[in-house]
C-alpha cells in the first residue's frame, strides 16, 4: 500500500466511523414524492359488516349526491368541521408534522393536503368562490377518482392529532379524517378492518369476538399461571356483582403479548391494594373503533355497554386499562356519550385510568417495589398520541406525561427519555392507530413508524436503552410487528404495568426462578 493509498483508506475509515455516529434525525423531512402511496388500498368492508353498522352494503348508485349532502349535514353538526374547513390559510406549518408524510414522502400525507382532499370538494359545492371559479381556489368536483383518493389517504391517517398541535388555528386533521370516513361509510364504502371489528363488538362485546365462556377460561388460565409463578392467589374476577371497581380494558389484554403481562400487572396492583374489582363479559372491550370511523352513533352504542355493565354489576368506580384511544373516549367523551354517572362514587375520577390508580397507591406508599428485578432493562417511554394529545391524568395539565413515567421510574432503576421533539405533546405516533393496524396497510405502518424507530435508535445507541414501554394496546401490537423490521427485538416493547408487575413485591409471594 502506498502512502497515498494508506491515507485514503484511513480517511475512509474515519468517514465510516463518523457515518455510524451520525444517527438520522427522527424528524428529518423528505423531499416530496408525488403519489408515492396513492395505490395503497385497504380491504373494503363486506356488505354484511356494513349493514351490521347501519350503513349501505355497497356503494350506492347516487353516492355522489349522497356524499355531497352528507358534507352539508356534517357542517351543521360539528363546529370543528366547519371552522377547520374555512380557516386554513395554507401556511404550511403542518406540512412536516405527520409521521406518515415523514416516512412516505407522499405530499398527500401532509396534514393540510390530506384536509384538502375533502376541503376541495367542500369548496366546490358549499362556497361561493368554489362554485364560481373552482380553478382559482383549488375546488374539485366529487368524481370517482376523488372518492378513491379519499379512501386511500384517509386510511393513512392515524388520527394522532400531532398536526393540530402545530397549526396556528388548532386545525385537527383527525376530525377531517373521521368526517371523511363517516361520509364514505354513509355511501357504502367502509373499511373492512374497522367495520368488521365494530360489528363484532356490538354482537359479542369485544373486538376479538371472544365469547364470555372463552373469556372466563382465559382469565382462569391467567390466575393459574400467576399462582404457579408466585405461589399466591391473585384474582382475575369476571362479572362479580357488587365489586367496587369495574375494569374496562382492551381485549388485546386477553390474548396478545406484551398486553397480557400488563393485565397481570393491573391484577397485582388491585390485589396489593386489597380492593374488590371485576371485569365484565358484556363490556369486555375498552377500545371504541366507533371513533375511528367518525360515527357518533356507533361510538355511543359501544360506550353504552360500559354504562350497562356498570349498572348491572352495581360497581362504584370505573377504571380503564392501557389503551390510547379508549382513554380518549373515556376521558373526553364518556360523560357525553353514556353519562350521567351519578350512580358511581363521586370521590374518584369517572372514569379513572389504571395509571392514576397505581400512581395514587404509590403516593400513599402502599406499594413496595424491588426495582432491581428490572435491572436487565434500560427503559424508555412511548407517549401514545391519543393519551398525549386528547386526555389527561390527575388534575394538572400534562399529567398524562408524568404519571406513566412516575410508574416506570418507581419500578426500574434505568430510565431515559427519547428526544424531546418526539415525546410529550410532540410525540410521534406508533403508525398503527385508528384503523391502520391491519396487514393490508403494512406498507404505511412500517413507513409511519420511521420517526419513532429513529428516535428509539438514538436512545439505544446513546443511552443503552433496551426496552420501550407504552400504554396503548394498538401501539403495543404495532410495535411487536414493526420493531423487527427496524432491527430491534420484538420483545423490546413492554406494557407499563408489566414493568410495574415485575417489580411489585406482594406479601407472601415467591419470586419466580427466571426473574
Amino acid at each position: 500500500m502506498t502512502d497515498l493509498e494508506k491515507q485514503v483508506s484511513e480517511d475512509q475509515d474515519v468517514e465510516d466511523v463518523e457515518e455510524q455516529l451520525e444517527l438520522p434525525d427522527p424528524l428529518e423531512i423528505p423531499a416530496i414524492v408525488v403519489d408515492a402511496m396513492v395505490d395503497l388500498h385497504s380491504f373494503e368492508a363486506a356488505p354484511a359488516h356494513q349493514t351490521d353498522l347501519g350503513f349501505p352494503g355497497e356503494l350506492v348508485d347516487d353516492w355522489q349526491e349522497r356524499a355531497i349532502a352528507k358534507i352539508g349535514d356534517l357542517r351543521k353538526k360539528y363546529r370543528s368541521f366547519r371552522v377547520y374547513l374555512d380557516s386554513c390559510v395554507k401556511c404550511g406549518a403542518c406540512t412536516d408534522k405527520c409521521h406518515y408524510f415523514l416516512g412516505s414522502a407522499d405530499p398527500k400525507n401532509m396534514p393540510v393536503a390530506r384536509q384538502d382532499l375533502l376541503r376541495s370538494v367542500y369548496r366546490r359545492y358549499y362556497t361561493i368562490p368554489g362554485k364560481i371559479a373552482p380553478w382559482l381556489v383549488g375546488a374539485r368536483d366529487l368524481t370517482e377518482e376523488v372518492l378513491g383518493e379519499w379512501y386511500n389517504y384517509f386510511h393513512q391517517c392515524s388520527q394522532c392529532r400531532r398536526c393540530s398541535v402545530y397549526c396556528p388555528y388548532g386545525i385537527d386533521t383527525a376530525e377531517i379524517s373521521m368526517a371523511a370516513r363517516e361520509i364514505m361509510d354513509d355511501v357504502g364504502k367502509g373499511q373492512k378492518y374497522c367495520n368488521e371489528i365494530i360489528a363484532k363488538l356490538h354482537k359479542v362485546g369485544n373486538n376479538l369476538g371472544m365469547p364470555p365462556k372463552a373469556l372466563e377460561a382465559t382469565l382462569a388460565d391467567f390466575e393459574e399461571e400467576l399462582e404457579d409463578d408466585f405461589g399466591i392467589e391473585i384474582k382475575m374476577p369476571l362479572d362479580v356483582e357488587g365489586a367496587d371497581i369495574l375494569l374496562i380494558t382492551p381485549s388485546a389484554d386477553f390474548f396478545a403479548d406484551p398486553h397480557i403481562e400488563g393485565l397481570m400487572g393491573y391484577a397485582k396492583v388491585f390485589h396489593n391494594a386489597g380492593v374488590s374489582w371485576t371485569m365484565s363479559s358484556y363490556a369486555s372491550e375498552a377500545a371504541n373503533f366507533g371513533m375511528f370511523i367518525g360515527s357518533y352513533d356507533n361510538m355511543r352504542k359501544v360506550s353504552r355497554r360500559i354504562r350497562k355493565a356498570a349498572k348491572d354489576l352495581k360497581v362504584k368506580r370505573i377504571v380503564f386499562g392501557e389503551c390510547g384511544h379508549a382513554w380518549r373516549v373515556g376521558y373526553a367523551f364518556l360523560n357525553t356519550l353514556a353519562g350521567p354517572w351519578d350512580f358511581l362514587d363521586q370521590n374518584y375520577p369517572i372514569p379513572q385510568h389504571i395509571c392514576e390508580f397505581t400512581f395514587d397507591e404509590i403516593e400513599k406508599g402502599a406499594i413496595t417495589f424491588d426495582k432491581s428485578r428490572n435491572d436487565d432493562k434500560v427503559m424508555t417511554f412511548h407517549d401514545s398520541c391519543n393519551v398525549a394529545r386528547a386526555t389527561r391524568m390527575g388534575s394538572n395539565p400534562g399529567g398524562q406525561f408524568d404519571y406513566p413515567r412516575a410508574l416506570l421510574k418507581a419500578s426500574c432503576n434505568h430510565f431515559h427519555d427519547m428526544p424531546e421533539d418526539t415525546i410529550g405533546e410532540a410525540t410521534v405516533c406508533c403508525g398503527g392507530g385508528a384503523g391502520i393496524l391491519t396487514d393490508d396497510l403494512m406498507d404505511i405502518r412500517v413507513k409511519g413508524a420511521a420517526p419513532r424507530m429513529k428516535a428509539l435508535r438514538q436512545v439505544t445507541e446513546e443511552e443503552g436503552v433496551t426496552h420501550m414501554a407504552a400504554i396503548c394496546a394498538i401501539c403495543k401490537s404495532q410495535f411487536t410487528k414493526i420493531l423487527p423490521k427496524y432491527d430491534f427485538d420484538m420483545e423490546a416493547i413492554q406494557s407499563v404495568h408489566q414493568i410495574v408487575s415485575n417489580a411489585i413485591v406482594l406479601e407472601g409471594a415467591t419470586v419466580p426462578e427466571d426473574d
Binding site: 416530496i32 363546529r79 374555512d86 406549518a93 388555528y169 373526553a332 386528547a390
Partner: protein
C-alpha cells in the same frame, strides 16, 4: 371628478356592508353549529384564566406557529404586527384626534409609516416560501398567490402615495369623514390613490368568502378553550350576551 368620488363612495359603502355583515353572519353560523364532543387538544389549561391566557397567546404571539416553524412565524408575525400598526395609523383618516378616545392616533403615525415596509417585506417573504419550499408550493392554489399579491399591491400603492407621489391626504380624510354623514366630498384626482382604494375595497369584499376567515377562525377553532372559558354547551344566539359579558369579565 364628482363621478369618480361617487363611485368610490358607493364602493366603500358596499364593501363595508359586505365585510361587517359577512363576518358577523359567519361568526353567527359557526356559533350556531353545535360542538357535541370535547375535542380539546391537550395538554389544555384547566382554569378559566389559563384558558383565556392561551387564547390571548395564540392570537397575539402565534404560539403554535412558533413551535411549528420559526421562519413562517417570523414572516407571519412581521406581517401581522406591521399590518396592525398600519391599520392603526389609518385611523387618522376617519377620526378626530382631539376627541379623547383617539388621542393615541398621532403617536402611532411614525411607527405606522415604517411598518408599511415591514409589512411588504413580510408578505414578500411569505410569498417566496410559496415558490421556494416545495411542500408549500404543493399546497398553494392560485388564490393563495393572488391573496398575497393583493396585499402586497395594497402595501406598495400605499407606500407610493406616502413616499413617491404625495397624495393630498387631507382631502382623503375629508372624503372618508364625509362618508360618515353621507356627505360625498371630492377625492383628489390621483391614480395611486384610486388603485389603493380599489384594492382595499376588493379585500374587504372577499373577506367573508375566503381564507381571511382565519381571523374569526383563530378564536373559534379553539372551541374547547371556549368551553373552559364559558362553561359547557355554549350555544348562540341564546347564550350570546351572557357569554360575552362573562368572557369580558374573565379576560379583563
Amino acid at each position: 371628478m364628482i363621478s369618480i368620488s361617487a363611485f368610490f363612495a358607493g364602493l366603500f359603502y358596499f364593501a363595508t356592508a359586505v365585510i361587517v355583515f359577512g363576518v358577523l353572519y359567519r361568526i353567527y353560523e359557526y356559533w350556531s353549529v353545535p360542538s357535541p364532543l370535547n375535542i380539546a387538544t391537550t395538554p389544555a389549561p384547566t382554569t378559566q384564566a389559563g384558558a383565556a391566557f392561551r387564547v390571548v397567546r395564540e392570537v397575539t404571539l402565534f404560539e403554535s406557529l412558533f413551535k411549528a416553524n420559526k421562519w413562517i412565524w417570523l414572516f407571519g408575525i412581521t406581517f401581522h404586527l406591521a399590518l396592525l400598526l398600519v391599520l392603526l395609523r389609518h385611523f387618522r383618516y376617519f377620526v378626530d384626534p382631539t376627541f379623547i378616545l383617539w388621542a393615541w392616533v398621532p403617536y402611532v403615525q411614525p411607527f405606522g409609516k415604517y411598518a408599511a415596509f415591514a409589512m411588504v417585506l413580510g408578505l414578500a417573504a411569505l410569498w417566496a416560501r410559496r415558490f421556494l419550499v416545495e411542500r408549500v408550493r404543493y399546497i398553494s392554489s392560485p388564490s393563495d398567490h393572488l391573496m398575497l399579491l393583493l396585499l402586497i399591491l395594497i402595501g406598495v400603492s400605499g407606500l407610493v402615495m406616502k413616499f413617491v407621489s404625495h397624495t393630498d391626504i387631507m382631502d382623503v380624510k375629508h372624503f372618508f369623514v364625509g362618508l360618515r354623514s353621507f356627505d360625498i366630498k371630492e377625492l383628489p384626482n390621483d391614480l395611486p390613490l384610486y388603485i389603493h382604494l380599489s384594492l382595499v375595497a376588493t379585500l374587504m369584499i372577499i373577506f367573508p368568502f375566503s381564507k381571511l376567515l382565519h381571523v374569526p377562525g383563530v378564536f373559534l377553532a379553539q372551541h374547547e378553550i371556549w368551553q373552559i372559558i364559558l362553561g359547557k354547551n355554549v350555544m348562540l344566539p341564546l347564550g350570546l350576551r351572557k357569554s360575552i359579558i362573562r368572557l369580558a369579565s374573565d379576560i379583563f
